[in-house]
Amino acid sequence: MIPELGQFAIALALALALMQGSIPLVGAHRGDSRLMALAKPLAQAQFALLVLAFAALAWSFLTHDFSVKNVAQNSFSQLPAVYRFTATWGSHEGSLLLWTVILAGWSAAVAVFSRQLPEEMVARVLGVMGLISVGFLALLLLTSSPFERLFPIPADGRDLNPLLQDLGMVSHPPLLYMGYVGFSVAFAFAIAALLSGRLDAAWARWSRPWTTTAWTFLTLGVGLGSWWAYRELGWGGWWFWDPTENASLMPWLAGTALIHALAATEKRGVFGNWSVLLAIATFSLSLLGTFLVRSGVLSSVHAFATDPTRGLFILIFLGLVVGGSLTLYALRAPRMMGGGSFGWFSRESLLLANNVFLIAALGAVLLGTLYPLFLDALGLGKISVGPPYFNAVFVPLVAPVLFLVGVGPLARWKQADLPDLMWRLKGAFAVALVTAALLPLTLDGMNLQVTLGVFLALWILFTVLKGFALRLQHHRGSRVRQLARLPRAFWGMQLAHAGLALLVVGVTIVSNYETERDVRMPIGSHLELAGHRFVFQGVEELPGPNYLAGRGTMDVTTPWGRSFTLYPEKRNYNASGMIMTQAAVNYGPFRDVYVSLGDPLGDGAWTVRVYHKPFVGWLWAGTLLLALGGGLAAADRRYRVALRRRSDPAPAPEPLRSITREGVA
């Protein structure tokens, strides 16, 4: 009964989405307020229905309703409750349902937080989002029903893929989808702008907080995915350039370019057409990612079970959305160049350079991901494009962006003074360069990769500090209070850039200085690695809820005499018979110690892999800081001026300054 209710809710939601995707658009075209006013309640009702459908599926999982095919294939009587809940989005069908719930959630959020927008704008944005929703709900109902029944009812389920039974998987897909789908808001704003012919600073200001929020979620989602791979795949890698990962990196790169282009559009009215194109591209790349992961055109470790019918459906939908919006762009993008002039060296020109490199990097990732497909489709043979290619082309394209991160925020709009800026930054440049050149020499000899990475990271950190110093130099009084008064957009930008620096440190150090040992360890034997002493105490059998584990015990003593014990496991899952390696990790601010069990050798001895990963945690700390920065920037006061009117009788001049002169992120 409950599953049928869920199915019915989806069907009803599709009906509402059809209305949401048509009536308000007609209303906006005719200027009919009554039709436009329908958009908000329709979006909210659709959200409520889809939450109901999602709850119905979660209920089926939690109560072991194996008559539902999806449950039977992705759950198991012994599966712990938390993973039964996350199994709701563990399959293609369930994750698609989650996608539509989140899409409806963003629509409902737009409906709630758009009181300061003109009604035509709201009607068009929600109308476009309704049309997107129609596509996904139709895909769900026609090709991928999550509530399909099974007869005869199996006695037990086939269990959730053991790879997905991990903490990282609990929140990774929802956050990732929040990001992917969140860009549909930026997309809808762009389409609405094209429809209304209003591609101005006001449009940029409206769509900026939504774009930044979506970007924040995507950042967290990608970071968590990487953390999951690190913990779960058993050899401590964190990025593999797998098509699925690239599918999430591409919208991230486009989204990063977009939030920087929007900054210029909002402040100076420039790059309007380009921002619209980027908004379309970002969401299109999210859709492309969905297609690549679910259609089976590329082989990937993480892809869902695939089916050409679904692939064709998604491709047609992709063609309608992207083809339609790009046609609209070609027809309606303003012919006139908006905004004012700016010089060779200015904030605008630096943002332009940022976009050039980011988009070239995006192009490289797209090319590498799809190239095997191109050749195959042309009948020119099969090749593989893997990490060596991506590392070779990606790093040289993003290194200049990282350098620009140090310069851009300090340059003035319109016309900046290059000699003056060089003079101001000479100290930061010199110290960063000398430190970066000397550091590898104190470790194990010259290493240009390390020098480049450390230089860029220090350069960013120093210039971020310089940015704070310049902001405060004309102020008097308590520094702490002055800092607290700086606009959130400024804080957000600075923190995100600092996060980028941490990320670069983590990537550089762990790639160059990680050490590993692959050894045979009899019970009681020991191993020294990077000053840590590991003593192997053997493996014991330990039944888990839905698996039988061989749990190893490894006593570790750090170079500073602290001791702890790690328990790496080898699990045999009851339902699938799949054997999984569950690594044990000791996290630290400056290094992770990572132990992973290999195979038994008899007499209690095992092969064991032990890794010392210096600074790897900075990778995820940097990601968190990036996201924190994004969150702060999206919460800047100026986006909420109209919303805040009731609560805060703050002195007026301060927020004004942030709007007119300094609010940049």
């Binding site: 089976g296 590329l298 050409p308 692939g311 762009y329 195959d376 099969k382």
Partner: protein
């Protein structure tokens, strides 16, 4: 005109994505086609003391079918293989990594579709043939050259469309 470029780029991309739907990313053409079949000498399953080597059948057109006892698709293929081949070419089997020694009793019980099945116990000969999955079938001509590699089970349709024309050509 410039603003139509994004649409154009996407259209080209879309065509490739569409073509991609009907390709199999896992099906890799073998570079061994047109080259001599790697030689080996391996014991024959179920006939102690006997060995087989491709050089023994030089001058004949023959098939080499890679299989494994735990591969249910292969066993399904075994049931249809004799009827499809109809004795027109000898079929030899390469038993991939039969670690539990199940192949001999299994062939004795079900009936063997092979003239002889050799035992590639450590899977090294299969590597020389670039085997990636079971079952796979190689067509080898009178000069000992590999003329075709088929990945996956042979169905009657595939036999008619891929194997028969080639065999006719080779046996003329």
């Amino acid at each position: 005109m410039r603003r139509w470029i994004p649409l154009l780029v996407f259209a080209v991309l879309g065509v490739f994505l569409y073509l991609g739907l009907y390709l199999n990313p896992k099906e890799v053409p073998s570079p061994l086609v047109g080259r001599p079949a790697p030689d080996f000498t391996l014991p024959v399953v179920g006939r102690p003391g006997e060995t087989f080597s491709p050089s023994e059948v030089r001058g004949d057109v023959w098939l080499l079918n890679i299989w494994a006892p735990w591969c249910s698709v292969c066993l399904e293929e075994h049931r249809h293989l004799p009827r499809m081949v109809g004795g027109r070419v000898p079929v030899y089997g390469l038993t991939w990594k039969d670690l539990d020694r199940e192949a001999a009793p299994l062939l004795a019980r079900n009936g063997s579709p092979y003239v002889a099945a050799v035992d590639d116990h450590d899977g090294r000969v299969a590597i020389r043939y670039g085997v990636t999955v079971t079952p796979e079938t190689f067509v080898i001509d009178r000069d000992g050259m590999i003329r075709m590699k088929h990945v996956g089970p042979i169905t009657p349709v595939i036999w008619k469309s891929k194997f028969e024309p080639l065999l006719r050509e080779l046996q003329l």
